[in-house]
Symmetry: C2
Subunit: 128 residues, 2 copies
Amino acid sequence: MFLHIDANNGLAVYDQIVRQIKFSVADGVLAVGELVPSVRELARELTINPNTVARAYRQLQDDEVLESMRGTGLIVSIGARKICLAARKRLIRARLQEVLLEAHHGGLDAEQIQTLFQTELKSLKKKR
Amino acid sequence: MFLHIDANNGLAVYDQIVRQIKFSVADGVLAVGELVPSVRELARELTINPNTVARAYRQLQDDEVLESMRGTGLIVSIGARKICLAARKRLIRARLQEVLLEAHHGGLDAEQIQTLFQTELKSLKKKR
DNA sequence: CCTACTGTACTAGAACGATGGTACGGTAGA
DNA sequence: TCTACCGTACCATCGTTCTAGTACAGTAGG
């Protein structure tokens, strides 16, 4: 499956699902019109409660990323790609700002942050 | 005051206090032996409940950053500087890793992340 | 000694996230 | 038609965080 849930990273589980589904649509992993995993199936795969998945899907419908095919499942809606590309940029940018602000408030100057960032980016590359 | 609380950034309020006190000690804003603001005073300044501040201070005592002077207040403990310097590095590094991982998982490659990072770092500099 | 502060401890409740379970109507396929 | 799946809507329960209020022992200063 294309989702990774981290129970203790601060974000609510349903929110992690919402974000990652959006990222998958933005990235093209989930195509417009495609069926997403059913509530029960995704819950089984992630070993979480179906209600939590339903909660995430409800949010994604509110955001017009998914739409319901009654009795069949949920599909990626027509306008989803555009919405998700914008959302991805906005979400990542917000996270980055948070971290930078915290680092700066913690007494690190731009150079130190820069150095730390490069180190982490390199170790991220190595993993792939 | 030297603390900024953001109610909706995912982190618990007490945890934000813990982190920022540690950062202040690491940065030297709070010196070893110095009294930290009292539970009631800090609560008043941040307009939060005194119990929430007490919760944070309890955590900081467990982490051996603060120690109690009964009836007088809490002071920054002798070994606090070293502990906080290490903690700051560890905490910021962890946050950075989270964001980078999320960005990468969201389909952005190293270059795109790099660009986004530089933009945000510049806008951070401008604010100071 | 008295007063005003300190930390600390306790109870109670609200809000939220997550779990577990049950139930119902719609749809697809054998 | 029957069966198995689908989303959806409930319900009760639990843990965490935060708020609110009260109480008590220790300490400093007038």
